[in-house]
């Protein structure tokens, strides 16, 4: 990584710090403290160069989708998933997606419901049958030589088939104009696209704030988080629209809180709900990994163990590398000394 500090010093990190280095970007940790992480989501410097590890195109790619009938299946899906993920039978980022996310990228709320408040279950049922989606939808992909994909698929299929009502789909089973499937298929092959942003077209003039707590890959936690958000969201009059992006040992739970950008009251309601979610999640031991500018202080404040030791350490680093506070003051709740409120 190459980063410019606030005083104009250009720094090469890791192996790149050696002039004429032959191993820059190959071994990430270098010699001594590994500092790359300090420039992730921080305001300590301007990153001017990063190394990306590209992968050769695999000899085969077979994306799949598994749909599940019941809302309560989230528990079983997550439990089945964990060992497959930990053992790397499911590589890359797999997704467990709630039905509304799949619907919102291809239809609008007014196509189905014009009443106020969250859409009723009967309407959800109709959408599921129209769009051939489940209450939950799991997306993954097989990569590699065909015999390896065939063998891996048997294990994955048998594991998920233990959940009653599970249905399995490959590319040939989904329609060519199935917007949701087509963009997931591209993403799994590493082809970036913006289709997912269609979720904000769910309502006219929709804008969003994502509430993004990290969850363990367990059925209990996934369900607890889902219910925590769903109940508060419905009470505030919004539709739950969310998904779990499954990494190796964690899931990024993304709740897309969509509101009408021109409706001041709705915006205020969304703001209030978001703050309530931050607090309720923190009380249950769940923290977010990113957020909107307006909530950076609030979320940074939830990582307050031992008298906010981490935040205080961030501030020490900030004061050392950017004493005048010229780089993104307040980013991730890290303020320069001159702008710090209520703390020396």
């Amino acid at each position: 990584m190459e980063v410019m500090l606030a005083d104009g010093t250009l720094v090469q990190t890791g192996m790149g710090a050696m002039p004429g280095s032959q191993t820059n970007h190959l071994y990430k940790y270098g010699f001594g403290p590994s500092v790359d992480g300090l420039f992730t989501q921080s305001n300590f410097g301007v990153v001017t160069k990063v190394g990306m590890w590209l992968m050769p195109e695999p000899p085969g790619y077979r994306p799949y989708m598994i749909t599940f009938e019941k809302e309560s299946d989230l528990h079983a899906i997550t439990e089945v998933l964990r060992p497959l993920k930990v053992n790397m039978l499911i590589p890359a980022v797999a997704m467990t997606v709630e039905m509304l996310w799949e619907a919102a990228v291809q239809v609008t709320r007014r196509d189905y419901y014009t009443g106020k408040g969250p859409i009723p279950d009967s309407v959800r049922k109709k959408m599921r049958s129209d769009l051939k989606i489940g209450a939950w939808n799991f997306y993954g992909a097989l990569y590699g030589p065909p015999p390896m994909m065939d063998n891996t698929w048997e294990v994955i299929r048998d594991a998920f088939a233990s959940i009653p009502g599970a249905k399995f789909y490959f590319d040939e089973d989904r329609a060519k104009d199935d917007v949701a499937w087509q963009y997931r298929k591209k993403l799994g092959a590493g082809i970036p696209n913006m289709t997912e942003y269609n979720v904000m077209n769910w309502i006219p003039n929709g804008a969003h704030i994502d509430f993004s707590p990290i969850s363990p890959v367990t059925g209990v936690d996934a369900t607890k988080q889902y219910e925590l958000i769903r109940d508060r969201c419905n009470k505030a009059g919004f539709d739950y629209c969310g998904e779990f992006a499954v990494g190796w040992r964690d899931m990024h739970h993304i709740f897309c809180l969509t509101f009408d950008r021109n409706d001041a009251k709705e915006k205020a309601r969304a703001n209030k709900l978001f703050g309530d979610l931050v607090d309720a999640a923190a009380a249950a031991g769940y923290g977010e990994y990113r957020t909107h500018l307006d909530f950076m202080d609030r979320i940074a404040g939830t990582y307050n163990w031992n008298d906010s030791a981490l935040l205080r350490m961030h501030e020490k680093v900030k004061d050392a590398v950017d004493p005048s506070g010229i780089l993104s003051p307040g980013k991730m709740g890290i303020w320069p000394k001159s702008m710090r409120k209520g703390r020396a």
Binding site: M200, N205, H208, R261
Partner: protein
């Protein structure tokens, strides 16, 4: 910036201003107390077709590909096109198919955003680039380039 742009828009050429205000009314941007009346809106005429130099056309297309196409390409899988289709109908969804965009209209939405679209700051797209982009889109429709 915002005030200057609004001023330009509101005191600009009459037909242009009318078109813009009526469009903004349709989008709910201007409240019920807006400056246009029904007669003005009805009188709004399609702007005269502008012929662009090959350089502007090429630069405009390049800027469109770099900044807009990921959301505004043809097809409902593109969220900007989907949003505009829901608003105006099928043939008005893709920006490059539009024959009724004006430079001021384009500039307003690029700087201010709408719905899921963020406003673009001058650090992302400077005024000179925006001018070319606005001219390019106003000179539409632009034929689709066949996929390679």
């Amino acid at each position: 910036m915002k005030a200057r742009l609004m001023k330009e828009i509101l005191i600009g050429r009459r037909t242009l201003a009318c078109r813009l205000v009526s469009a903004m009314l349709a989008l709910g941007i201007v409240g019920a107390g807006g400056t246009a009346n029904a007669a003005d809106a009805a009188a709004a005429a399609t702007p005269a077709k502008v012929t662009l130099s090959p350089e502007t056309l090429a630069k405009g297309s390049e800027l469109f590909v770099k900044n807009c196409i990921m959301c505004h390409d043809r097809g409902m899988e593109h969220p900007g096109t989907a949003a505009l289709t829901y608003l105006y109908g099928k043939d008005k969804g893709a920006l490059e198919d539009r024959d009724n965009l004006t430079p001021d209209f384009v500039r307003f939405f690029v700087r201010h955003g709408r719905g899921l679209m963020p406003g673009f700051r001058t650090g992302e797209l400077n005024d000179a680039e925006l001018k070319v982009l606005a001219e390019y889109l106003s000179a539409g429709p632009h034929p689709a380039v066949p996929a390679k």
